[in-house]
Symmetry: C2
Subunit: 423 residues, 2 copies
């Protein structure tokens, strides 16, 4: 669940800071080659297929140049606008209040356990709800079947928005439930700067509070009366569990496989936000194609985020190797920088197979990563996914509404922030 | 989650044994006074209201006599019939196969964790699925709106049955998920005679496997496309959690309150089966009244079961106090026999408040229970709830179909078995 900690950091540290975005935008011209050379086999979502077909028909320079223009244009507009978080600030506080109301439980101890992360001040920056609310606006293209009566349309829009807001709340509940269960598993003692629930109240209550949140999320889901959406978000819980299990029960071959790593990363980090974005589209009655674009945005943003997180675990705030917390490698978790380094130096495999209980082995692995292009290739892969997320937004049906356009720009802005963060 | 262990025992030990039923039936004549004198305030379900109104209008003797006749009549028929478990044996094996198919997971370790209790031979006797399948038949009264075409009716009936069977599977998944999480919490090292999952595979995998089962249950629920049913069973998960939290975080006043104890018992033991029975009625398109009768059956059967379980914890197979495992009192859990004893001997409260780490205190509490009518009053309360469960079945709309009648008799038979079991 590194995503959450990192997303908290990104929203805290990059809020309003557009220098990074500008650096990212101006660096995009040098990065397109990577799209042609990268070995990672994407899992074949629709946006990726579109992009790959463009690449393979040698249209990339045209595509890139057009997109580059769009983004430079967006960038100058964004500078005059509020940042993505401010754009939905009022609604976010509505979501926060709803969440506090939704976790009221009959038993005081359960209530206080469940609301632990929903309290004022420790609730994080609600990165997921921000994305979901922005996506809701970005997709509220007028649906042709709606009656033209303004009044009815207004009611329907309000109701739709409140259903979409409910998805934001459910997503946050599922996310916090998984944090609670992860904390038990990892025996973590801090979370978001305060003591983790299991540390403060014991493992037992943390597991129960997680179950309680899952059940409340399920009740809220049922109230939306859309069984496709229920199924979608129930599958997310399964993915979170599958990702966690994949991480803890790898064979040596799996631990050293980039495909396995990307699949696990999708399950653990990207599934929740991608499926929530898809749910937003489904609730608005969009076509399967639009729903898939929403899904692709969330998926690629999540993957880009995690890849950068993996880099920062090695480099921390500086660009130098070994300055990060090195938490993954110390826990025996092999991430993209090591996997790319292994492609260049196959002998690193033996080091990995020995495990990292011995600090000398950690240093040896770091040496290999340092002399390889592992960090750089991981950043490039992250940029590829950030690009794919932006492409998904750009591929949405055109819309002239200013609010819709602003939300789409904000979503693209988030893809920049994810890449350019340094902690 | 004592219900499960006990239900396993009951189905194993009482299968086909009708002596107990006969003893119970012949003893019913002496127990009706208890209905008038018992102090426990029922929570006001519809069956209870019906029964109470009958009691308060002094119709009880008539009611009792009529019911007594019905049950004596039923009893003689039951003797010529198969027992409840055999009645649905074929379908139960279908449920067992489905469950094994439903918990297939991408990650082998997760799959083996999740299917741990669904394997052949260790899957328990599927008491809950038995009740649910019997309830399905008991409620499949011809619904007036159905078209008269036999063929269409046949298809609808088959589809309805397979949806109801799905509830049996979902119920079992929720139940096993809660066992897995309870095992982690309690650090239990055996379950159904084999090593508990957390003991064999570690806490981490047991929590993840529980989450995985809950998510699969939710996906299966969504496939039923009935949001009321989704909501009902999601609430059950909340109840299981609430009951567990109530048990672990009591104040002295709560620990010594009969209302609190009954509420906790409903949440921990009776909610799953009562709401599943209600779901069966809802899927069949029954009225709210019939759905409430199905709910009342499950609720009262569950409560009766737990009350007898609490007695057996003191008496074990013999009728003598102190012959049971005394597991509850050693864990500081105060159950009905102690609560009733406390009504007679208020000084027992001080003993309870001192806790039971000191064996001398356990012995002192046992002394009080022994000289009180605690055990007897707990049995009487269990009988009251078993009666209420039987009343719920008897109150269902009349039906002449032989299969329907046989299933209803089997459900009533189960209320006898619950009460007369000795281990």
């Amino acid at each position: 669940m590194l995503f959450s900690r990192g997303l908290y950091r990104i929203s805290k540290n990059l809020r309003g800071s557009l220098n990074g975005c500008r650096r990212y935008l101006s660096s995009r011209g040098q990065n397109h080659q990577f799209l042609l050379s990268n070995n990672y086999q994407s899992t074949g979502s629709s946006t990726e297929r579109v992009l790959r077909s463009l690449i393979f028909t040698k249209n990339l320079p045209t595509l890139y140049s057009a997109r580059h223009q769009i983004h430079n244009q967006s960038s100058s507009i964004i500078e005059d606008e509020l940042d993505p978080f401010s754009l939905v600030a009022d609604e976010l506080s509505h979501v926060a209040n709803s969440l506090r109301a939704m976790v009221i439980a009959e038993v005081p101890k359960l209530a206080s356990a469940a609301e632990y992360f929903f309290k004022m001040g420790v609730e994080g920056k609600r990165f997921r709800p921000t994305i979901i609310l922005l996506m809701s606006t970005a997709l509220n293209v007028q649906i042709p079947e709606l009656p033209t009566s303004n009044e009815l349309e207004g009611t329907l829009t309000t109701e739709l928005r409140s259903r979409q807001r409910c998805i934001a709340e459910i997503t946050e509940m599922i996310h916090v439930a998984s944090l609670l269960h992860d904390d038990v598993l990892d025996d973590a003692d801090t979370r978001r700067g305060i003591g983790s629930l299991n540390f403060v109240m014991g493992n037992k209550l943390a597991v129960l509070a997680g179950d309680f949140l899952l059940s409340r999320a399920c009740v809220a889901l049922a109230s939306l009366k859309n069984t496709e959406v229920v199924s979608l978000l129930a599958t997310v819980v399964e993915h979170l569990v599958t990702g966690e299990t994949m991480q803890m029960t790898t064979t040596s071959d799996q631990r050293c496989s980039m495909d396995y790593y990307m699949q696990k990363t999708y399950y653990k980090t990207a599934s929740l936000i991608s499926n929530s974005c898809k749910a937003i589209a489904l609730l608005a009655g969009h076509t399967a194609e639009v729903a898939m674009l929403a899904f692709d945005y969330g998926k690629n943003l999540g993957l880009a985020f995690q890849l950068i997180d993996d880099v920062l675990d090695f480099t921390g705030t500086s660009a130098s190797l070994g300055k990060g917390s090195l938490s993954d490698i110390h826990h025996g978790i092999i991430t993209a920088p090591v996997l790319f380094a292994m492609e260049e130096f196959p002998e690193l495999r033996d080091v990995v197979d020995k495990g990292f209980d011995n600090p000398a082995n950690v240093n040896l692995a770091l040496e290999y990563v340092g002399k390889s292009r592992g960090i750089q290739k991981t950043r490039e892969l992250a940029i590829k996914h950030a690009n794919l997320a932006a492409v998904a937004i750009d591929s949405l049906p055109e819309n002239d509404d200013e609010e819709v356009k602003r939300s789409r720009r904000a979503l693209i802005d988030l893809t920049h922030r994810v890449i350019t963060r340094t902690k």
